[in-house]
Amino acid sequence: MTNDPDMELVDLAIGGDERSFESLIERHYMSIYQLSFRWCRVKEDAEEITQEVFIKLGRKLNTFNRRSSFKTWLYRITINTAKDYSRKNATSRFYEAAFAEEHSREKSDLTASNPIGVKELYEAIDTLPARQKAALMLVAAEGMNHKEAAAVLKCSETTVSWRIHQARKTLKKIFSGWFENGK
């Protein structure tokens, strides 16, 4: 990658320069933490995930093959770490079904004063299969386009689009009334 803004620091860090490595961490700490928090929405867990990501970075930095930008690669590590975390704290399939039932809205329930809450939406996203959640988080929460998300997730752009489509279908079902209202 020719215009990776992290390139210089990464070079130095891989060469063994601790200060550069530390600067890399400083530079990206907040973004990784933010993504982690959006993923799990518990401050302590987000901190854990972030820590784990940077530990992995320390361990794996010299395997970075530079085929993507450093940030993309770091995000990939983050998504994977977050997924691991989710797996460990997995909600059972039963719960997901119950959740969907609980939170489905009848058309008539929805009014202007009772829109989908932020938390509800995130919780609903939690029930998605990890891959769909990842795609949705990167695109909808982090604001990446499908191409960028594909780079992080190491899949094709079409796959990303497909996963987003599936995710929205599920969300639609959960918040059926809300969607149909055309909002």
Binding site: P5, M7, E8, L9, D11, L12, A13, I14, G15, G16, E18, R19, S20, F21, E22, S23, I25, E26, R27, Y29, M30, S31, Y33, Q34, F37, R38, R41, K43, E44, A46, E47, T50, Q51, F54, I55, K56, L57, G58, R59, L61, N62, F64, N65, R66, I116, V118, K119, L121, Y122, V139, A140, A141, G143, I164, R168, W178, F179, K183
Partner: protein, 727 residues
């Protein structure tokens, strides 16, 4: 619902700030992993050491980490290594030819584990720490930095004495010559070890019996390799004594070996550059206030003694910008020696006549600057400074390492609200836009340079020097060039745990500026307000001191402090050699401990066969009454050739009793004693922290800002800390 809608809802999630402890912990853990990995790499790929060097140093963005290339070339390297090792009989004989006194058997056991696997690294560092006796190093051991710029630990001379150890380090040496067809003869470098007695060396050509204590010889490249490894292990351990659990010593200081005692008959002339930096005192204060003893290398005695203002008589005017004052009196901690106290006071610029100041702040706004003792403190400090500026003075502000760029274009101090508003805007963190920080700052400074005024860049950081020029040497050169064009640099250090003292000092030195460490608002006020003129306005530059001691009167001397400022004798008159600057109102203090001739406290025996200089003719008149001759060289700020002031030091400057000596001399002696205690210097004998307190207390007369009383407090804190077994 469109993606936009979805995104808007998701964005509404409030994200709480991550805890500082969590962040610190994450950084520490990541760094530990990073070091571990570097360790592993070094061990697993010793044969690829030269490759790593090639890859990491030379190719920024170029051919990089292409493993296939690495592996194929490495295979060739391995073949060469094998060839080289097999065909070098000297190596083999050295490996097999040693026998060691049983004294070192226990150490041998732990040493034999080198190179340790990462999980056993504690045994290696144990090995380093077991070396309790200071190891004597011959003069051939260079101090300072090695090729890659990491400070060489001058004290670390632990030999790698195992067979495998030598073979491995030999291998490294071979590869760096990369790759020779035949083994080249190894350059010899000697180490003298206190405890090891070698009894026999096979294969030695001339059959000379080795003097006792010479263990073996190690090539310079091996020395570097070992030094690097041990230094990195030391850093892995936290970089210093882990006194309190929360404090991880990631602060960096140059290693300092205290000045040794010199014989006047062999080295009658002592030359050094003055230093007005005060960073060390503030840093020591910070450590003690947190309940820790400071790292030894953080204690620079000259900076501690220079922290205080002394009542030396002022010079009359700018033509001779400073006046030296001297005093000789008995050493508080040694009845057989005396202290020679030299004080220099700089001319005080009268406020009305003060030149215009054009200041450019270059501020580190990386995430780590967010803590209370960093950016917020800095902002308050600058606010205070702005209050004291004259209406025509100007300020510009640039930032780096978080956001990057100009925060405030050059603005007159008369537009105070505009400046204050810009300061308010400063915040730490944010995504980095690869800073051209320092170039930007200097171009801001250059754009409105005033040749009649003072143009200064003030760099404020907690240790992040990613100012756009990453190579420290290139950075130094850049600053030096700019200095020559009239823009000076001062450096302000903040915070703990990331502090890079060595680099700060170097940059300030190169920039004709000073380095200060700001640990609290009082210090900020001192540096940026009370002593702002000193910080900002240079009245003499490249100031060097040279003293010639009279061998008829003095047999030995020892300069206390200034280890990093020593100059060669010939540097004194060489105007190309850079030295420290004196700012308006600054005072500089230096103290020698001198042994009068005939004293039974003399440490070094006279040569039995040396020429007795006493019997030769001595040039100076009155050779029995002069102790020494002091010369000071300096340049006026606008000039490039130096001038000289000189003064004889004789019995007229002497006080027979400590109590007769001026208060300033006694106080300076107390500070110097304190510094030596903190460093654990051996010359301080039985002097205790209580003795320091008594000496200091009796010498405090005027203390308008309370700095001297604060000093007493610090000594008490040190006493407590050391009693609790920190050292």
């Amino acid at each position: 619902m469109e993606n936009e809608e979805l995104r808007r809802i998701l964005d509404r999630l409030p994200v709480p700030e991550p805890g500082k402890d969590a962040k610190d912990k994450a950084i520490q853990a990541a760094m530990a992993e990073f070091r571990l990995q570097a360790q592993k790499e070094k061990e697993q790929s010793k044969g690829f050491a030269w490759l790593d060097r090639l890859i990491s140093k030379k190719t920024i963005g170029g051919f990089f980490m292409n493993r296939t290339i690495a592996i194929s070339t490495a295979t060739i390297a391995v073949a060469v290594i094998a060839f080289a090792v097999i065909f070098s009989p000297t190596i083999i004989s050295r490996i097999t030819g040693y026998k060691y006194a049983s004294v070192r058997k226990e150490e041998m056991k732990s040493v034999n584990t080198y190179p340790a696997k990462p999980s056993e690294e504690t045994s290696v560092t144990q090995m380093e720490q077991e070396k309790v006796q200071p190891v004597q190093v011959t003069k051939k051991e260079a101090s300072g930095t090695d090729a890659s710029g990491t400070p060489k630990a001058a004290q670390i001379t632990t030999p790698i004495v195992t067979a495998e150890g030598i073979a491995e380090t030999q291998k490294i040496e071979r590869i760096e010559i990369a790759p020779p067809a035949e083994p080249t003869p190894i350059e010899k470098k000697e180490f003298i070890l206190d405890e090891i007695a070698v009894t026999k060396l096979k294969g030695e050509e001339n059959n000379q019996k080795l003097p006792l204590r010479k263990a073996y010889e190690m090539a310079p490249a091996q020395v570097a390799a070992v030094d690097n490894l041990l230094v990195s292990l030391k850093r892995h351990e936290g970089g210093g004594p882990m006194i309190s659990p929360e404090y991880v010593g990631r602060d960096r200081f140059e290693d300092i070996k205290p000045n040794t005692v010199k014989l006047v008959s062999e080295e009658p002339v002592s030359t050094f550059s003055i230093d007005v930096d005060t960073a060390s005192y503030a840093f020591v204060r910070r450590a003690l206030n947190s309940g820790n003893l400071p790292q030894k290398d953080a204690v620079r005695i000259e900076e501690m003694v220079n922290y205080f203002d002394y009542d030396y008589p002022l010079p009359k005017d700018r033509s001779e910008p400073f006046k030296p004052t001297v005093a000789v009196f008995p050493t508080p901690w040694n009845t057989g020696t005396k202290l020679l106290h030299i004080g220099i006071k700089g001319y005080d610029i009268v406020p009305e006549k003060k030149p215009k100041a054009n200041l450019t702040f270059l501020i580190d706004v990386s995430g780590s600057m967010a803590s209370q003792d960093k950016l917020p403190l800095l902002k308050n400090s600058i606010r205070m400074l702005v209050e004291t500026l004259n209406p025509d003075d100007t300020v510009a502000i640039a930032v780096y390492a978080g956001a990057a760029g100009t925060v405030l274009e050059r603005t007159k101090a008369s537009e105070k609200s505009k400046i204050l508003a810009a300061i308010d805007q400063l915040h730490a963190g944010g995504s980095t836009a690869g800073g051209e920080g320092i170039r930007l700052a200097y171009s801001l400074a250059e754009a409105d340079m005033d040749t009649q005024g003072v143009n200064r860049v003030i760099l404020a950081t907690d240790g992040d020097f990613n100012v756009g020029i990453t190579n420290p040497d290139v950075l130094q050169d850049f600053i030096e060039r700019k200095r020559k064009s009239g823009i000076y640099l001062s450096v302000l250090g903040f915070g703990q745990g990331n502090y890079n003292d060595a680099l700060m000092q170097k940059l300030a030195q190169n920039g004709n500026g000073n380095a200060a460490y700001i640990d609290n608002l009082n210090e900020a006020r001192k540096v940026l307000v009370d002593e702002a003129y000193g910080t900002l306005f240079t009245i003499a530059k490249d100031v060097k001191i040279q003293i010639e001691f009279n061998p008829a009167m003095i047999s030995e001397y020892r300069l206390i402090g200034y280890e990093t400022r020593l100059l060669n004798r010939e540097d004194f008159k060489n105007d190309m050699v850079d030295a420290g600057d004196i700012g308006s109102g600054h005072s500089v203090t230096a103290i020698y401990e001198i042994t009068p001739k005939g004293s039974d406290a003399q440490l070094i025996d006279d040569l039995r066969y040396g020429i007795n200089k006493d019997s030769g003719s001595v040039k100076t008149a009155g050779d029995r009454s002069e102790y020494a001759f002091l010369k000071i060289r300096y340049k006026l700020p606008e000039e490039s050739t130096s001038r000289e002031i000189s003064k004889a030091i004789d019995k007229g400057n002497e006080y027979k009793k400590i109590s007769d000596a001026p208060a300033d001399s006694r106080f300076a002696a107390a500070v110097v004693a304190f510094g030596q205690l903190l460093r654990g210097d051996s010359f301080i004998n039985q002097f205790t922290y209580d003795d320091v307190i008594n000496l200091a207390r009796g010498s405090i007369k005027d203390d308008p800002f309370g700095y001297r009383t604060e000093f007493l407090n610090l000594v008490r804190l040190a006493k407590t800390a050391s009693a609790m077994g920190d050292r």
